[in-house]
Each structure stands twice: as C-alpha cells, then as structure tokens.
C-alpha cells in the first residue's frame, strides 16, 4: 500500500459526482480514479492538485501522507 492516502471517494460522494465525471474533469481514465480510491496508485503532484481543485478542497484535505510503519 502506498504511503499516500486519500478521501477522494468520500468527497466525490458528497458532491454526487461519478468516477467518470471526475476522471473527465481531471483528464485521467476512470480506471486511474478507481486505483486512487482503492489506495493502489499515488498520483503525480499535478494530478493530485487537479483532483483537489475539482473536488473544491485544499490538497491536504484530499490527500494525506502517512509514513510507512506508522499505521
């Protein structure tokens, strides 16, 4: 599991946005959104900013860094 966790699924649900809608607005595939939501893929900084911007929250509200071994 990557050290970067995220709240994309929760934030997306609050805004009643589908995975495909978020993917289209961020410019990635739906499969990448699915991988991010499952904490299987850590996006680049640029994509992380785009996701946070699209969801209308600060980056740190959407993504959190948890060093390995501290969970």
């Amino acid at each position: 599991m990557p050290a970067i966790r995220n709240q994309i699924r929760e934030l997306r649900a609050l805004r009643e946005m589908t995975q495909q809608e978020l993917a289209d607005r961020v410019g990635v595939t739906r499969q990448t959104i699915i991988a991010m939501e499952q904490d299987k893929y850590s996006p680049s900084l640029e994509t992380a900013f785009k996701v946070a911007l699209t969801l209308g929250v600060p980056l740190e509200r959407c993504f959190q860094y948890e060093p390995r071994g501290k969970r």
Binding site: T29, Q31, K40
Partner: protein
C-alpha cells in the same frame, strides 16, 4: 465484480492474443524453420495487430491515456529489456560453451536456421513478457 477495461487494456489483450496465435504455432507445431516462415510471421503479426488495434480504436469511445498508463508502459519496457538481456547472456554463454567443445558447425545451413530460430524466440519471449507485465500491472492497479 464487473471488470472494467480501459482502452489500453483492451489493446493489450488483443496484442497478447495476436502474439499467441501467430507465434504459438511457429514454436510448438513447426519443427522445420526457415527464413520465409520468420518473414511470414513478422508480416502476419503486423497485419493482425493493425486489424485488431484498428477495430478496438473504432469501438472505443474514450481513447485517453494518462500518467498511470505511461508509468505502466515504462514498467513494461523494463521487464522486456531485463528478459531479453538475460536470455541473450544465457544464449551467448551456451553458444560459447558449444563452440569451445567443438560442437558448433556454424557453416552448416541448418545450424544457421536453428540459431535464427533461437534468437527470434528470445525476441518473442521478451515481447510476450512485456505484454503480460503490462496486463498484470493494470490488474494490480499498477
């Protein structure tokens, strides 16, 4: 659980299918190898790939590729290179061992075709490794 495949994944499964359909019979059914067969196979794989990729492109609405696709592509090339390099080292070591033992009649035409087949096989194995690595990376999310 429903399996959702991206455009890239669909093209990968098509590539793997084409590779197995074309290369499989060559390596497992034909014992008599020739330059014509190798050339025919290369043409067959190119034609089949163009047909399948074209068909998938026409049927797919969203042909977007993103950073994750590019990352997986890099992983694919690394796996392919490592496989090919390993096979080349093993192949050259075996050639050297046979030559040192005097069991390598390189002037013999059949031996030449045999060597061609072996080196072509290495390329095929590394190619299939690349495709399988990419499919596995997609299935594991990365």
């Amino acid at each position: 659980m429903a399996v959702s495949l991206s455009y890239r994944e669909k093209t990968l499964y098509a590539s793997l299918g084409a590779e197995l359909v074309v290369y499989g019979p060559y390596f497992f059914l034909h014992q008599q190898n020739s330059l014509n067969k190798v050339a025919g196979m290369i043409i067959a794989i190119i034609v089949l790939q163009i047909l399948l990729q074209g068909l998938i492109a026409v049927m797919s609405r969203n042909r977007l590729t993103d950073e994750r696709d590019r990352l997986i592509e890099l992983r694919r090339y690394r796996a392919g290179y490592l496989t090919l390099a390993t096979l080349m080292v093993v192949g050259l070591a075996l050639l050297w061992a046979h030559a040192a033992a005097g069991r390598l009649p390189i002037e013999n035409r059949r031996m030449g075709l045999h060597l061609l087949s072996v080196f072509f096989g290495m390329l095929v194995i590394s190619d299939i490794t690349k495709t399988v690595t990419q499919i596995v990376s997609y299935r594991r999310a990365l």
